[in-house]
């Protein structure tokens, strides 16, 4: 007869193996290995058929950083990040502070502001492609009202990126607002009561108590915003497709047009690796503060 202890031990190993294998296999094969392979392929010129043989060293990277369109896409990504961090998030925080209090109609505004986030990015971009259309859209109607000929903002080199940034703002400020509201609701009522008793007004309370206590939440939203901005693709496609004259590409749309569509596996992978390195750089900076496990010592 086997001892119950041995049974428990066997059961444990059995469970570990059976329960972990599906997720580990799929995750390793389709997430971890492809990222490693991207790094490897980026040193070759290769169309994806046969084995990669034409080793070119850092040529793909050299070409990339001399390529005007790629530099432009890199810049665009940084504009997107800058606007997100310095305009969108503070604005979302402001709105969150305004409607988290006992404001009448707060639930209504919350829902409305969050609404764009649930739309598919493709759909959002198509709606705005219509709005921006100089013949038919809302922009045309507004200009027409003033008796002016409407511009085609999406076809204008100077304005196309601004138009995209407005769409990004429209779609994503609601999710950040929602994250902040959730954070604000977690602040204990006693603290706020105490501040009120001490005679702190709404503005003092916001700056001295609410915002400092929201720091972990703000870090989370900054992180999400950074990673999201770096991977922007869906919104660009229906709006400009990277045009006019390739001035509105993001790094991912650049990767799609110049790597995937032309089946340049080596070159495309080099673009992917650059995106990866930027993300890694950001993630390392965040790792200690954000992804720290709150119950580190339980095991």
């Amino acid at each position: 007869m086997r001892s119950p202890k041995l049974d428990a031990l066997l059961s444990r190993y059995y469970t570990i193996i059976i329960f972990l294998i599906p997720a580990l296999t799929i995750f390793t094969l389709f997430v971890v290995l492809p990222i490693g392979e991207a790094a490897y392929y980026s040193f070759f010129r290769w169309n994806g058929y046969g084995a990669p043989e034409k080793f070119v060293g850092f040529k793909n990277y050299e070409f990339l950083f001399k390529n005007r369109v790629f530099i432009m896409s890199l810049k665009n990504n940084f504009y997107i990040i800058a606007i997100s961090l310095f305009v969108q998030l503070p604005f979302a925080l402001l709105i969150a502070l305004m409607i988290s209090d006992k404001l009448r109609g707060a639930a209504f505004f919350r829902t409305v502001f969050f609404l764009p986030f649930i739309l598919a990015e493709i759909v959002t971009a198509l709606i705005w492609a219509y709005i921006y259309d100089g013949n038919y859209g809302l922009v045309a109607a507004i200009w027409g009202f003033f008796g002016a000929e409407a511009p085609f903002v999406l076809g204008d080199k100077d304005w196309a990126l601004v138009a995209i940034l407005i769409v990004i703002f429209w779609k994503f400020f609601g999710i950040h607002m929602m994250i902040y509201i959730a954070g604000l609701q977690a602040i204990s009522k006693e603290v706020l009561e105490a501040a009120k008793v001490d005679g702190a007004g709404p503005i003092t309370t916001a700056f001295r108590i609410k915002i400092p206590m929201l720091i972990p939440t703000i870090k989370l939203s900054v992180f999400l915003s950074l990673l999201g901005s770096l991977q922007l693709f869906d919104i660009i496609m229906p709006l400009t497709g990277g045009g006019p004259s390739n001035v509105t590409h993001s790094m991912v749309s650049y990767l799609y047009y110049f790597g995937v569509m032309r089946m340049k596996v080596g070159f495309g992978s080099a673009v992917g690796v650059v995106i990866f390195l930027i993300c890694l750089f950001i993630a390392i900076g965040y790792q200690r503060t954000l992804m720290r496990d709150d119950n580190e010592n339980k095991f």
């Binding site: 991207a38 598919a120 493709i122 954000l290």
Partner: protein, 274 residues
């Protein structure tokens, strides 16, 4: 007096903002009912001459339904496997003590920070070499792989907050880990199961880049691909395009109102604990 004034401006700002959000959605839905000529002259008002044809012709279009069906297959398939595999993995991380526990958890966690775009070309080659191109699995399997990380975090957090006493009592009664997982953990985890399902479903439903890379065969197109093809065909025939947009927008909004609680919980519950 002063507070009244402030409230007044506050509402002014909030209503203005609500208008900025709602008006584009409103003109899109209403635009689908308009003739091209009317779109030019009357983009804000209700249609003078209601044109239902844009909507009815789409509803009679078999491709439209095919693309919706394909997206449903991708979304349901992905969600089923993500929920199953991620909850199993998280269960082990939460309840079973073993040497590599922490290490393996971090392994999945790191994957969360990797941008999907980096892997896209090698991923395509792998899917091709496995002979999955031309099947639904070409979309479903990569989506499972990239959905696991975040789902595991959510599940693990939830499982660890379940009272330890149930687990200990069950083990004493000779319940194995597997039995415990099916009889206690899953039935007691409906909120987190719902949250992960809703996040995975919407993520898959709205995904554009992955199907775009993986799918060549038009009979397997997802609806975002379909809508882009449609846009290519009727470039400035906005009435038709807006009708298509509206028909996908309405279910999304209904879905959102029904399950808002879970969506928000999933987006904020994962990490805002501190």
């Amino acid at each position: 007096m002063k507070t009244n004034f402030r409230t007044y401006y506050l509402y002014l700002l909030l209503f203005f903002l609500a208008g900025v959000i709602i008006i584009p959605l409103y003109v899109s839905v209403i635009g689908g009912f308009k003739h091209t000529g009317e779109l030019r002259t009357n983009s804000l008002g209700l249609p003078i001459d209601w044109k239902f044809e844009n909507y009815t012709s789409l509803l009679a279009n078999s491709d439209f339904w095919l693309f919706l069906w394909n997206s449903t297959v991708y979304a349901v398939g992905t969600t089923f496997f993500v929920v199953l595999f991620a909850s199993m993995t998280a269960f082990v991380f939460a309840h079973v003590k073993f040497v590599a526990n922490k290490f393996l958890y971090n392994y999945f966690l790191l994957g969360l920070m990797f941008p999907f775009a980096t892997a896209i070309l090698p991923l395509f080659l792998r899917v091709r070499d496995f002979g999955l191109l031309g099947t639904s699995w070409a979309v479903i399997i990569p989506q499972i792989a990239f959905g696991l990380g975040f789902s595991i975090i959510l599940f693990r957090g939830f499982f660890r907050q379940m009272p330890k006493e149930i687990f200990e009592a069950a083990v004493c009664d000779g319940c194995s880990y597997t039995q415990f997982y099916f009889r206690f953990t899953l039935p007691l985890s409906t909120p987190i199961l719902a949250t992960v399902s809703v996040i995975t479903l919407t993520g898959s439903w709205n995904n554009y880049l992955l199907p775009l890379i993986m799918i060549n065969d038009e009979s397997l197109y997802s609806w975002p691909m379909g809508i882009m093809v449609f846009r290519g065909e009727y470039f400035t025939d906005w009435g038709k395009i807006l009708a298509y947009v509206s028909l996908t927008l309405v279910p999304a909004v209904v879905f959102f109102f029904a399950l808002q609680k879970y969506i928000v919980a999933g987006l904020t519950g994962g990490a805002v604990k501190e």
